[in-house]
Amino acid sequence: MVVPDKRVTIDEIVGEIRDGMTVGVGGWGSRRKPMSLIRALMRSPATDLTIVSYGGPDVGLLCRAGKVTRVVYAFVSLDSIPLEPHFRNARQSGAVEATELDEGMFLLGLQAAAWRVPFLPTRAGLGSDVLRANPSLRTVTSPYGNPPEVLVAMPALELDVALVHMHRGDQGGNGQYLNVDPYFDDLMCMAAKRRFMSVERIVPTEDLLAEGPLQSLRINRLMVDGVVETPNGAHFTECPPDYARDEAFQRAYAATAKSDDEWDVFRRRFLDVSEAEYQAAIR
C-alpha cells in the first residue's frame, strides 16, 4: 500500500487556522457540515475570520462566538428553520460584515479559485442589488460578438483553509459522499491553500468501492492535506444515510438566540467541551 498517511487530529487542523484567515466550509445549509471541526474552531483562539459558506449553523455558531469579521454567502439557513437566528442577530447588530452574493455567483467564485483564474463571467447579478451590495464587483465586456455582451466578472473566492465533511475516506485523503448531493466540497478544497476533511469513517482504500459507487468518490487525495475520522461529526446537521438531522437539537440551538443566558447554558454544556464530551452529551 502506497497511499500516504495524512491522518491528523481535530486540534492539529484548527491549529493551522490563524487570526484573519479566510475559511471555506463545505456542505449546504444544515446538511453535511464539518461540525466537529467548527466546534473545535470555536474553542480555538483564532479570531477575525472570514467565513465562506453555503451557510448553515457553521456560520451562526462562529458568528455567535465572535470569531467572524466577514461572512461570504448567498444564504444562511437551517433548512427546516429557514432563517439562521444567530446569523440574523449578528447581521442586525452590525457585528459582522457581509459579502452577500447570488448562489451561482458564489459557485463561480469557488470555481475560479479552483481553476486559478481571477474571475469567471456570468449573467447572474446583472441589474440586481448584488452589485450595489458589493461595490468592488466589476463587469467585463466580451471580446466576442457584435455588439459585445457585458457580464459580471465574479472574482475568485480564494480560501486559506477549507473544511469539509464526507461519509467515508481513506488515510490518504480520498473522500466519498453517500448521500444524494456532493454539494461543492471538492471546489472548496481546490479553492484553498490548506484542505482538511473529516469523515464518518476511515476505511482501507480497497474498501471504498464496497461503500458506494465509483461516482461517489468525489474528493481525491490531491485535494486534501489532512483527514480525521469524526463519527457523528456532522451532528446536528444531516448526514444521510448515516444519520438524519437532529431536529430537536437544532430547535434547541436556534432557541438560544433569544437570550444570552440560554446561550451560556448551551455553550457550557455542548461547546466548551471536547468532541468526545460533546458526543456523550448529545446521547
Binding site: A74, L101, G104, R123, A133
Partner: protein, 261 residues
C-alpha cells in the same frame, strides 16, 4: 358538488399557480414553497404532463409526489428520471429550460423582488434569506412569484433591496443582457397578476372568487394596471380537486399557508 366540497381559497391559489405553468411544455418547473409546489405538481398531473419536476432535493421525478411527506416509508416510490444535485441545477438555470416560482417578501410595480433583507444593505433591520438564486434566476429563466400575504407591506412602491430584477431594471440593461428575462405571473392570496402591459407594469389579471377589485387595490402599495373588466380566477375542476386533496396535499398543508376566506 356539495357545498362541503366547495374549493377553498388555498385551492384557488393552487390552480392559479398551476395556470402560471400552462404552455411551458418540456421545461423544469421549479416552484419553491408549499402552494407553489402543489400547483406545479397539479399542472404536471393534468394539463402540462411534459413538465420536469424535482423531488425537492437532488432528483428529477416523473410521478406525482405528495408534499410534506419526507419519510420514505410514507411516500410512494419515486420514479427517478435523472440526478439533479445543486451543481446540475445551476447548469439548468444557466442553460435556460426552466420556470422557477419563488416567494417575495416585497415586490414592486415592475416585478422587482426582495427576499434578502429589510432596511439597508450595510446593516439590515431584518436579515432575511439573502439573495439566494434570485439574481441568476431572473436574468436567465422565466421567474414567477407567489405571495401568500398580499398587503401594502408586500406589494410595495419600492423594494428595499432588489434580489430578483423587474422589467424596469431589465430594460435598463438593454435587449442583449435582458433577452432571457421574463416574469410570467405573480400569484397572491387575493389574485393573479401579470406584466402584459405597454410598459410592463403589473396588471391585475384576475381576482380570486370572493375578492373585490377594491380589496386588491387597497392591499397594494402601488398603482396596478386594471382593465375595464377584471376576470375572476377560475375554480378547480373536480379532477383537480381530487389531485390536490387525495394525491398531492393529503394533509392539507395548503390550508395552513392560506386560511380559507
Amino acid at each position: 358538488m356539495t357545498a362541503k366540497d366547495a374549493a377553498t381559497r388555498a385551492e384557488v391559489c393552487v390552480v392559479a399557480v398551476a395556470e402560471a405553468f400552462r404552455g411551458d411544455g418540456e421545461i423544469l418547473a421549479n416552484p419553491i414553497g408549499t402552494i407553489p409546489m402543489i400547483g406545479g405538481r397539479l399542472a404536471k398531473a393534468t394539463f402540462e404532463p411534459a413538465l420536469v419536476m424535482t423531488d425537492g432535493e437532488a432528483m428529477l421525478v416523473e410521478n406525482i409526489l405528495p408534499v410534506g411527506v419526507t419519510d420514505p416509508k410514507q411516500q410512494p416510490a419515486k420514479v427517478v428520471g435523472a440526478w439533479n444535485p445543486y451543481r446540475a441545477m445551476f447548469d439548468i438555470v444557466w442553460n435556460g429550460p426552466r420556470h422557477v416560482m419563488m416567494g417575495a417578501t416585497q415586490i414592486d410595480r415592475y416585478g422587482n423582488q426582495n427576499i434578502a433583507m429589510l432596511g439597508s444593505l450595510e446593516r439590515p433591520t431584518v436579515q432575511l434569506l439573502g439573495f439566494r438564486g434570485a439574481p441568476g434566476n431572473t436574468i436567465n429563466d422565466k421567474t414567477s412569484y407567489w405571495v401568500p400575504n398580499h398587503s401594502p407591506k408586500t406589494f410595495v412602491a419600492a423594494v428595499d433591496v432588489v434580489s430578483g430584477i423587474g422589467y424596469d431594471r431589465a430594460r435598463a440593461l438593454g435587449p442583449l443582457a435582458s433577452r432571457f428575462h421574463c416574469l410570467p405571473r405573480v400569484v397572491s392570496n387575493l389574485g393573479a397578476f401579470d406584466f402584459e402591459t405597454p410598459d410592463s407594469a403589473m396588471r391585475l389579471r384576475s381576482v380570486h372568487p370572493g375578492v373585490s377589485v377594491a380589496a386588491v387595490v387597497a392591499a397594494t402599495g402601488f398603482e396596478l394596471v386594471i382593465g375595464a373588466t377584471v376576470a375572476t380566477t377560475r375554480l378547480p375542476t373536480d379532477e383537480e380537486l381530487r389531485w390536490i386533496r387525495e394525491v398531492i396535499d393529503p394533509t392539507s398543508l395548503r390550508e395552513q399557508e392560506v386560511p380559507n376566506a
